[in-house]
Symmetry: C2
Subunit: 336 residues, 2 copies
């Protein structure tokens, strides 16, 4: 890799657009954090909210810090060339030219890509790339569920741009209705809103234990950690569904390294242990599962590590490199 | 591509080793069929049976035809470098050095690789490769279920060599026990033995219609085509499970082109229509599914086209090219 202007382009702003919040991270060339902010998503047009989040984050550090590029990570079907996003089932927008809108509003080059895919690419690079790891799946479990998958050293995008939409694998035939319109999707039984719904169901049925009406997923995991039986049952169910999906990922993609992040994963061991317990049951039953994946291959994103915003920073840097006049820089993107 | 000795190496013998039969195909340089045979799998050691199948096929054309190479396609976890197969859940062998055994017995270079992956590679090449198709999944539904998947122009192998083992995605939580040891796998509810079991269950429960005790999958599909209600119910169930798996493949891998083959697919429209019916229901319910896959993207392997044995021929030719002294020939394998 040769040194060039794009090695030190200046600060980068990453924006991770989720179903419930927009997380922003401004870093300098040396990956030092200059600012970190989080903004709840409300009913306004999404592009307006993203622009406001970007402005507010930049305002916090003063006018003298001007980002060289902005990267946006978002769920759904992203066209990185066109800079658009659509079919983000947890966002209410379709075919939105988000990169153009945000780039023009801020007067800064802007790129958009899939949130989980960008996080996976960043985690893979951080772990040493293809010289260290043959494969990596980053499974994000938050308001929605999706994955970024790197197999045989290559990040999968797919013809449709939908590769990694594992939140809509079947979990429970004829199960709860999913935001995507199907029923029984993994996302409909194991993402944040599903956890809250299970809690509400338990309360309504008079078996809610310490759960209160309106408890969100974070509260369910807090109570489970504190030993509440009703919360623990919900958390065990979610872990079982996720373990089966991780087994499916390991078998379908042949990946042997899975990192789990997203809002629910912040509960730490309370979130991870039921997944590992179910996988252990499956490993005892099946030589195929023993071969495909072991507990040493599954890790939680370390506490405090926001793969979503770092993935968004990675999107901006990849965009800068891909449009660099230096061919050595461009090649690096093609290889990655 | 430059002409070289490996362009015209002589006849190639392909052996497709399945759970119930070994299919053999001997072709010449111009892909003309010199011999085609099928041998039921019995209780003898698998390697002995494969050697016998190879000898018998070659005997049929006489001593003057000597193959330049043998390719073996088999299910399970294949190590193409070592020439071994293991974890083939529908075969009773483990860690078998099949390529060495068969190659030495016949005195011919021999390679082994995964059956569905080889069939996918052959189908992809036949369709024009990456210049024609961005992605292709070949789903084989026979004694077992597995897939060969090409995404963004690359055949997935995975770190474990297990990429494409989609027969063990979840179909029915706490469902029937699978040959792999898990329960409720797709293979346990939608492969050949599962169809036979569903027929036996229906007969035992007195709702078997025209089904007789001991009906196999082919018989169930024949009766379904003839309009028997009991058989049609089984066929519809299998189609629903397979449709959900195909939707999962389309979303997880981002493939937009799915070819379905294997023993069950030989039933033609009786097999395919229930899959298309369920996918149409899903497409009506979900914009995500409408985007991911349409009926025009799913096709049956044409009647009489044996992708398994052609895949095995492809394995042998790839092996010859990979070991060719001509670097242009070797490069082609690395790219493909």
């Amino acid at each position: 890799m040769t040194a060039s202007a794009t090695d030190h382009p200046g600060p980068i702003l990453g924006l991770d657009v989720g179903g419930t919040k927009i997380a922003a991270l401004l870093v300098d060339d040396g990956d030092r954090e200059l600012a970190r902010r989080s903004f709840p998503v409300d009913g306004r047009p999404l592009a307006d909210q993203v622009v406001a989040a970007a402005r507010s984050t930049l305002d916090a550090v003063g006018a003298e810090v001007r980002p060289a590029a902005i990267g946006i990570g978002a769920p759904g079907q992203i066209d990185p060339e066109a800079g658009t996003l659509r079919l983000a089932v947890n966002l209410s927008e379709a075919a939105l030219p988000i990169a153009t809108i945000v780039g023009e509003a801020l007067g800064v080059p802007c790129w958009v890509d899939h949130d989980a895919r960008a996080a996976a690419a960043w985690l893979y690079q951080r772990a040493g790339g293809s010289e260290s790891l043959g494969s990596l799946a980053y499974l994000s479990v938050g308001t929605g569920i999706s994955a970024g998958v790197i197999v045989d050293g290559r990040l999968l995008r797919g013809v449709s741009g939908l590769a990694g939409e594992v939140g809509h694998l079947l979990a429970v035939p004829e199960g709860p209705t999913c935001a995507c319109g199907l029923s029984g999707c993994l996302e409909a039984v194991a993402a944040g809103p599903a956890v809250a719904r299970l809690a509400a169901d338990a309360v309504a049925a008079g078996r809610g234990g310490a759960l209160a009406a309106g408890a969100d997923a974070a509260e369910v995991y807090r109570l489970a950690e504190a030993g509440d039986e009703a919360a623990r049952r919900i958390v065990a169910d979610v872990g079982r569904h996720l373990a089966r999906a991780i087994r499916g990922l390991a078998l379908a993609f042949g990946v042997d390294h899975v990192v789990v992040g997203g809002g629910l994963a912040r509960a730490g061991a309370t979130f991870l242990q039921p997944i590992l317990d179910e996988l252990e049951r499956e490993r005892r039953a099946s030589a195929l599962v023993r071969e495909a994946i072991g507990p040493q291959h599954i890790e939680l994103l370390p506490a405090g590590m926001e793969a979503g915003t770092w993935g968004a920073v990675h999107i901006a840097r990849s965009g800068l490199r891909a449009t660099s006049p230096d061919p050595d820089q461009r090649r690096e993107v093609a290889d990655g």
